[in-house]
Symmetry: C2
Subunit: 125 residues, 2 copies
């Protein structure tokens, strides 16, 4: 098994498909429940952003409304993008009391939510 | 309507919630159909990446496998992140023949797909 893994690893590296060993992006796609005001939504976004100052392993936060024109967004209206230096940093974040407190406020306000983490990786062409 | 829009705009700016006027991220979450080999998936990723050289408005491409531990990824396995300088650039991309050709190859290989575009915006705390 070890040899096969190594072989796959090497083939990926040769093709420039190596997965990044650097930062990890934590992306939350959300759709807020009907009935929330713009002001309420802004408060949640500000609360999310404030985690950068509370959780040491969270290095950056960006957000944006969906502006896609393809109609493949399946109703998701907001993207929240947090940056960590490692997957361990995300694990620390998930168990941090300030994150837990905020998540317990935010999640009930969302009709739909998807969370993915990935290591942004370039492809050598 | 114009005054109301302006008012909302100004309030958002005062709160540091202004939406970015810079780059636009185009995020595709995908789950490949069962039965595709790792090599086939690598070829699709390489084909996606090669659009950077074919479509002038596409400025960068990164990808990564889902590495989340929360189990809120709803089965999505891959994230593809393209960067554009404007929403107009994304419109150009969507109608570019090389993108259309590639999309027609990729999309039938995906069991699930979500595409969102957003302008990554910081929050002034």
């Amino acid at each position: 098994m070890k040899l096969i893994s190594y072989g796959k690893h090497r083939r990926a590296a040769e093709k420039g498909m190596e997965e990044g060993t650097g930062i990890v992006k934590h992306i939350l796609l959300g759709k807020f429940k009907d009935g929330l005001s713009e002001e309420q939504i802004e408060e949640y976004i500000k609360g999310y952003a404030s985690l950068v100052n509370l959780v040491p392993s969270m290095k950056a936060f960006r957000w944006g409304k969906d502006v896609s024109i393809e109609n493949m967004h399946q109703g998701f209206t907001h993207v929240f993008e947090s940056t960590f230096e490692s997957t361990e940093g995300i694990a620390e974040y998930l168990t941090h009391p300030d994150h837990i407190k905020f998540a317990n406020m935010l999640l009930p306000q969302l009709e739909k939510v998807i969370v993915v983490d990935y290591k942004p990786t370039a492809v050598q062409l």
